[in-house]
């Protein structure tokens, strides 16, 4: 399977199964489109009919181009077949029972009252609660005990607002550090915060202990304050922005993401990205809202073309800023073409429910943070492990080949089958497909690959 598209002045051809990326001229672009559809002489004739009058385009030139395409096919870089399906379960089977990441819900409560919150203001449709040190410690022990030979363990402090339970967060990190050498493990902590409680102590802790911090900011003040308000209805932008700026400045180059959510209120989210850049933030993430269909903040069908155009313009802005010596990163445009994941990872699907689980304040295990509160997805708890193997098996079976729609999708090896939570909320099945999310994902990948190409081939030197 191949995928052809034009973007940023480039004609781009992706060979889906080998991962090869080709930048071609319009003759090769059109010839590749015809290559498998008709005999050589017919394809060459059609190309000559279309392009024959252009400078330098001769029948010999077209024949030479055809030979180049054939050579690439023979080298396994065009029209390569998908031979990976038998391996789809390999990675999960090899690591069955191994848990390598936990999302610790240290606080099912929040000091903001954002109406679009998928976690229903941090409570996950339940009661307010905070995790005790004893529960958190058991969760870390559970992770270590179930991580097999895996050395790098990821733990995300999540909520609600995790800094509402900062004392326990610090105690848990101290505990983890005290055992990691003896257990031959390396904990990587992430803190996801709304910024309301950031102070010097938090900054010092986050920059010393957390390999990543995720900072929630929606961009423009009026956009941010539309949803991200306190319980009195006051916007949070003015309070959190200086906190984030101070934290990032002190971070000294360590990873962070300024993470925004865009909704029906701001499908023109590029304006929010520009505000983030103007505030001095350079590591950015902007996510479509996750909410029930019919929710007023949900993106509509009419929003999608707007969002797609925004993604294209964002890629253009990224290239321009890079050229001007002011590079920034956008989470979904970070793509490592030479060192990205191996094929096993690409086809094995999201690790939710198998290698990745969420832990509630009282120690229950769920497949991921987005399933917390959905009782039928409860996997077990941190004392007894997985007690609901049927649910886990359902998640273990999620992979690129588990969904018919993915088989025909050129982007499947960049997404690994999509988000089980999005699929469940859209279709009622974790093996469903959330079509609007897929559409935006494909657009992001087209943009990401184009922006990566621009590093090697400047936009005005194609072909």
């Amino acid at each position: 399977m191949i995928h052809q598209y034009q973007l940023g002045g480039y004609h781009i051809v992706l060979d889906v199964c080998s991962g090869a990326v080709h930048v071609v001229d319009e003759i090769a672009y059109d010839l590749i489109a015809l290559y498998e559809k008709m005999p050589r002489e017919d394809a060459e004739r059609k190309i000559y009919e279309k392009h024959g009058g252009k400078p330098g385009v001769t029948r010999e030139e077209i024949a030479e181009c055809y030979d180049d395409i054939t050579a690439l096919k023979d080298a396994g870089k065009l029209f390569s077949p998908d031979t990976f399906e038998p391996m789809a379960g390999t990675l999960k089977a090899k690591t069955a029972g191994v848990v390598k990441a936990l999302c610790l819900h240290v606080a099912h409560t929040c000091n903001l009252n954002c109406s679009y919150c998928f976690a229903s203001q941090g409570k996950y449709h339940g009661d307010r609660a905070v995790m005790s040190f004893e529960v958190g410690k058991q969760a870390l022990d559970f992770l270590v005990a179930n991580s097999g030979s895996r050395r790098n363990l990821e733990v995300d402090f999540f909520g609600g607002e995790p800094l509402m339970n900062f004392g326990v967060v610090k105690e848990l990190v101290a505990y983890a550090r005290s055992i990691e050498k003896e257990k031959n493990k390396n904990f990587r902590f992430t803190l996801t915060t709304n910024g309301m409680l950031i102070d010097d102590d938090v900054i010092d802790f986050a920059n010393r202990e957390c390999s990543n911090v995720v900072l929630s900011l929606d961009g423009r003040r009026e956009i941010h304050d539309r949803f991200r308000v306190d319980y009195a209805g006051n916007g949070s932008w003015e309070k959190i922005v200086p906190n984030f700026q101070k934290l990032v400045k002190a971070r000294g180059g360590k990873n962070y993401y300024m993470r925004g959510t865009f909704t029906h209120a701001n499908p023109d989210f590029l304006e929010d990205i520009k505000v983030m850049l103007g505030l001095g933030f350079r590591e950015l993430s902007m996510e479509p809202v996750v909410c029930a269909e019919g929710d007023p903040s949900a993106l509509t069908e009419d929003d999608l073309p707007v969002v797609e155009r925004q993604y294209e313009q964002l890629a253009g802005l990224m290239i321009a800023e890079r050229k001007a010596g002011r590079p920034f990163t956008f989470y979904h445009y970070m793509i490592d073409l030479t060192g990205g994941p191996c094929i096993y990872k690409r086809i094995s699907g999201c690790g939710s429910g198998t290698e990745y689980m969420a832990v509630t304040p009282w120690g229950d295990l769920y497949p991921c943070h987005q399933f917390v509160g959905e009782e039928k997805f409860r996997l077990g708890d941190i004392w007894h492990g997985v007690e609901n193997p049927a649910v886990q098996a359902d998640f273990a079976a999620c992979n690129v080949y588990a969904r018919e729609e993915c088989r025909e999708c050129w982007a499947r090896l960049y997404c690994s089958g999509g988000c089980a939570a999005n699929a469940y909320h859209a279709t009622g099945s974790v093996r469903g497909v959330y079509a609007p999310g897929c559409r935006l994902f494909r657009k992001r990948m087209e943009c990401a690959i184009m922006a990566e190409i621009a590093k090697t081939i400047p936009p005005d030197s194609e072909g």
């Binding site: 090769a28 090899k94 690409r346 991921c368 089958g417 988000c419």
Partner: protein
């Protein structure tokens, strides 16, 4: 005339021979938290990844 330029990429078919160590990051942990994608992840097994090149 050069019609096709091929960008250097990791050969996914080659990665089938030596990949699968499982040390890589879980898909959306530590970042977006609301969508799945693996394109932006690093291979943690640098020895294997470089050996394929």
């Amino acid at each position: 005339m050069r019609h096709i330029q091929t960008i250097e990429t990791r050969d996914l078919c080659e990665s089938a021979k030596k990949g699968g160590c499982g040390e890589c990051q879980t898909s959306c942990q530590s970042a977006c938290k609301t969508s799945c994608g693996i394109a932006n992840q690093q291979c943690e097994n640098t020895e294997t990844a470089s050996a394929e090149k």
